[in-house]
Symmetry: C3
Subunit: 501 residues, 3 copies
């Protein structure tokens, strides 16, 4: 109750400040002024959600105006939009500049203390200043992560077999599709949920009764979040609110949130690699905030961002690689085996890929790629060269070529181990020891799950390990040991079950 009165007081004082034209100033902050609307937000929210406000105070957004930021010359420029709306240019980027932006585009906006506020800030809002990055991100497969999963019947079937409720019904295990809440708590926590406003709810707050939006799929920071305004993605997935720090986005732990499990062990393998070792050992002395990011000076070994996203130059300012938010720009191969490695899809929306058997997969069960939807060799070579340019900043051509030859050899052998497993699995299906396509799910029985792990866990581990020199991830840590063990178990299962039908 005491807190409530204090908060109410804060709101009143905030209102007075505004009337008197007194500016609220972030602690230890710059001289750049905040907007009146933001000051009004802060007057209450410094008390209501002090963590957010304090975090924002540490951000560059709280210290510089778009006008000043836009005038930075050369490679250090971060504001890529050609023109900034006059209204925004002269004040720092505070609550209001994002949560009140593009009011006509946000079906989830609602009246809040005289302002039309939206909770879900989207790439459309960020694009006001950072249009190049948001445009690139539209072509990033990550921005399509929701539909690529939810609109693909093969993956929906796999999902059902993974996160659906299972119950014994008349002696059989029966699975139902997972609920929205379960999905949001599992697959969609990375892929992103679909956020829609369904209405308003009135709540008693420390400031009296107020109305707030009811949102489906909220909260969500998934990379492919479907926003109420129809846009896809959440910049805050990597540039985490409310510091939006480039430092966070450049650190591998950010990528590691979603690229860490046995299906996609990129982060763990990076950490086990020499690059990860150097990062762990030396990053306290590195500078993660400079733009451009200077190889050797700012950092001594790449993080995920250095190879896949960032603008990297040498100490003389020569560009080693340009910034991209379409990460596949530098990727010739998709080593996340589905169910085999394959050239990157041409389009970020992969739900339309069809393999020879008509399934929504980039390869068929015997490894043949669905070529029509995948980039060709020329494009693979171009992307390889862009990626290797980063390697060549520290390594000789000899080194890089030797590494790459091994990597592509491992793509082939890991796929070979999946093919052998699939041939055994096909015998299991053919002999009726398990029920597969077209009538039944190929993912739901125990022995089928053994087969899935061959490519989804072990093949992926071997390939990612090869890409980054992850040592034991290529052998005993979900690697070749398990590929070979899994094969033998599938074969032993088949042989024994054939004898004992």
């Amino acid at each position: 109750m005491r807190r409530r009165k204090r908060l109410l007081g804060a709101w009143l004082i905030g209102a007075c400040w505004m009337i008197l034209g007194i500016s609220w100033q972030p602690a230890g902050a710059a001289t750049a002024p905040g907007s009146e609307a933001t000051e009004q937000c802060l007057a209450c929210h410094a008390d209501a959600t002090p963590g957010i406000v304090a975090d924002w105070e540490k951000s560059r957004h709280s210290r510089i105006t778009p006008l000043d930021a836009r005038q930075i010359k050369g490679l250090s420029l971060k504001v890529s939009s050609d023109s900034i709306p006059a209204k925004l240019a002269p004040t720092t980027v505070g609550c209001a500049e994002c949560h009140l932006a593009n009011p006509d585009k946000h079906p989830d906006s609602y009246e809040h203390n005289g302002y039309q506020v939206h909770t879900v800030v989207t790439p459309v809002d960020c694009a006001v200043c950072h249009v190049q990055e948001t445009d690139q991100y539209k072509h990033n497969i990550m921005s399509h992560a929701y539909g690529n999963l939810m609109n693909n019947p093969v993956y929906r079937d796999l999902m059902k077999s993974v996160n659906g409720d299972q119950q014994m019904v008349r002696g059989h295990l029966e699975a139902s599709q997972a609920t929205d809440r379960t999905r949001a708590d599992s697959c969609l926590s990375c892929h992103g949920t679909k956020v829609e406003m369904t209405g308003l709810v009135t709540r008693d707050t420390d400031f009296g009764e107020m109305a707030f939006p009811q949102l489906t799929g909220w909260p969500s920071n998934g990379v492919g979040r479907i926003n109420p305004d129809g846009s896809q993605g959440s910049c805050a997935s990597c540039h985490t609110r409310h510091q939006f720090s480039i430092e966070v986005a450049r650190k591998p732990e950010t990528c590691g949130q979603c690229h860490s499990g046995p299906d996609v062990p990129a982060y763990k393998i990076y950490k086990a690699s020499k690059h990860g070792n150097l990062y762990s050992s030396l990053n306290g002395d590195w500078n993660f905030r400079t733009v451009p990011w200077v190889l050797g000076k700012d950092f001594s070994a790449p993080t995920c961002a250095a190879c896949h996203v960032s603008l990297v130059t040498d100490a003389q300012g020569s560009v080693i690689t340009r910034r991209t938010h379409q990460m596949t720009d530098r990727l010739p191969w998709r080593i996340f085996g589905l169910i085999y490695a394959h050239p990157q899809p041409k389009e970020p929306d992969t739900s339309g890929l069809k393999n020879a058997a008509g399934l929504s997969l980039p390869t068929d069960f015997n490894g043949a790629p669905a070529l029509a939807g995948l980039i060709d060799q020329d494009e693979q070579n171009r992307r390889r060269d862009v990626l290797q340019n980063v390697c060549l900043g520290c390594h000789s051509k000899n080194w890089v070529d030797g590494h790459w030859r091994r990597f592509e050899h491992t793509i082939a052998t890991a796929d070979g181990m999946t093919l052998t497993a699939t041939r055994i699995m096909q015998q299991i299906w053919t002999r009726g020891l398990a029920q597969g396509l077209p009538q039944h799910s190929p993912f739901d029985e125990a022995v089928e799950k053994t087969w899935v792990e061959q490519w989804l866990f072990f093949g992926n581990s071997v390939r990612y390990s090869s890409a980054m020199l992850g040592s034991d991830y290529g052998v005993f840590e979900n690697g070749r040991w398990y590929q070979s063990k899994n094969l033998r178990e599938l074969k032993s299962w088949l042989d024994f079950r054939r004898q004992h039908k």
Copy 2:
């Protein structure tokens, strides 16, 4: 030999210093004086155990007297005891102040250079200055970790099946209860051992022959250590000797020592979460030593301590949550499924809980909670509100409510997957394909261990992941993938064994 002479010299010099009244001063330390007794300890131990002394020199204990510490006003006060014994007040807190404290209470004390010293410093000693924290800790389930395991016949049976020696005897695998040493090296390394003094042993040292206590269960820093004085716990589990730093206790790696395995993957899930990502990315700029701990200013994302232990305020000094060393204070649910999630036990001593079947478990095999021993809905609501108050420091009510709804939904679905597994297991027992209760252990056969993993590993992973948004720990990293795979394997096992008895 040379070292021995030098050490003997050190002892003599120490004695002279004392006689002459010359104070030993920690390097770079404050002006606050150490006690004579501590100076005598240091004179030898700076040579005998230099690492301990150097570590203590870095501690706040070596720099401030209880008298000064007690006079700190407001929320920054750390010395919670109302009065400090006059003898202790004017000198810093050194070796003697703890290892000579409460001499009449320590059956393990022994004569050492004219002092009655005890090796095992206990919460009784810490309580001299920090009585509030030690009192809270008595109500913490962690302080009962020894008895909760060792006095529970169900868990003893589980332990035997895990860490007991197993040998082939006349064609059968037979397990014996683990030895004390094995227990101390496995379960009790976290839970704590029982430390008792059994006698003295004389050893030839660098200072000549000296007597030392013989202690069972030593060394041990387990959180529920049974001390020779009868008290429970070791403050040094988290406030690690001899810096006793609040920084260490606030860092998640400290909790991670015991909350990291597949049975209780809290630390790993935290690290994979957005909160953990921010901690990993930004903690170099945070301040882990301030009391109170200021949200947003001192830290930008919670560690384990922020949500479960620490006194947290906003920048204006408003209390967001009060300090507690009874961590369950902020926990409505116990998501460490035994074998299902359930409301927290009322009492920290859980060995008396009985389920409907008379087993010492908080739920029965079909999920019904042993209500008499568990907190009720009102208490759950109260604790939820306390916990959510921390969330609300940075997140809107919308966000927190949405998260909580998902979390409680996941508690239900994860329990559902355990129930389905248990129903299959019950069929396996009923049909005599495995030997369960009441005659036999339900934990020792291969197929029973498959079932145990359903709740102890996979159910726990799914629930902890939901609590902290741990992404793949809810799916492929010991999560729903394994829940569903495990179910199918149990069912496949049952079906095949029924056909081939």
Copy 3:
């Protein structure tokens, strides 16, 4: 093309600098001069491989001459060679000093801009200044990691079953030995490859056509790399190029690159231990660059290096333990069970060990050690005392003895669990349910792989956990839970297969 012209210009300017006698100076570097040859390298490579040059600029090598380094007195001396060649002494240690060293010894050297350069810098080159360390390393089992694996028929058989390609041939799974590329990408990524020069290749570069060596097994930083000059090992495995920082070598992540998987989980267990907790929590305040390394002052808890490699003293300069690059110097036991724990081998080349059955293993299948090749009890005691001297820097004799008793007890019980598994496996072989020695591989069938995990994964995890107090790694994290589960699965498999041949 523009870059190419700029690089060519850099080369010309470099040549001019040399002629004019103008020194190239690393940014922010010391006044010590670089050699003319190094300046010529840098003139181009600052552009061609800017990351390497920038990294080297941060090294001590770029700041001090061997002459000055050699004159450092006492324990801080790092240059252990008695005399430094006159030619090297007065300039800093740059590109040329290593890549042009010992030109007559390097079969892989090639003409490059007027210099005879070799790509693969070896311990022979490092020995010019650091002869004591390279001599010690020759006795380190790690320097023999290539041959210890590749020349041991038992391990070659295990390797084939792990990383060989497997295909279905006439209804059978058939494995072939892995290719060189696969080996380099798996086992040999840690063990080291064999690097040989097979010829020269001409490449079009930014500086025109140039010849470069073709090297087999390149790249490689494995600890037992067979170099073109016949030497073994790569100092850069741990002292990573081109900072060669003692900081990196002292941080546990460096060891963790190869000692992290389920076969040898040392790093993960360290991180989960109290020592690792303190490292993770406090290392930002430690000093990893001082020589000697002062216990308590420079660091508050050991890293891998502190216990196994580094020169550690107390604050008074008394030596607690001397530096060694023969890490087994401080190891009485080899707890990496093959297939049981055993006293350390006498010689670093273990390929000649023979057990009672004539197999190249340090123990036989029932646990009896191949005594002739292993150190005796006296040597074990000596090494234990050396190791424990590190422990005693911070812990009492009571503590250390108690810990050690548990550790040796766990060695015995973990071996006991392997023995029981092996007895079951021997029944499986005897009954013809699997095909073992002497005709067939004991490692390639599914059930055999289950048995291998008993010692290679679970036994190792239990032992390493006991050595470092790794909590759950001794129980649920690949520890006793899996030992006991694995036993029950083997037994259940045997019983069921016996009934259903």
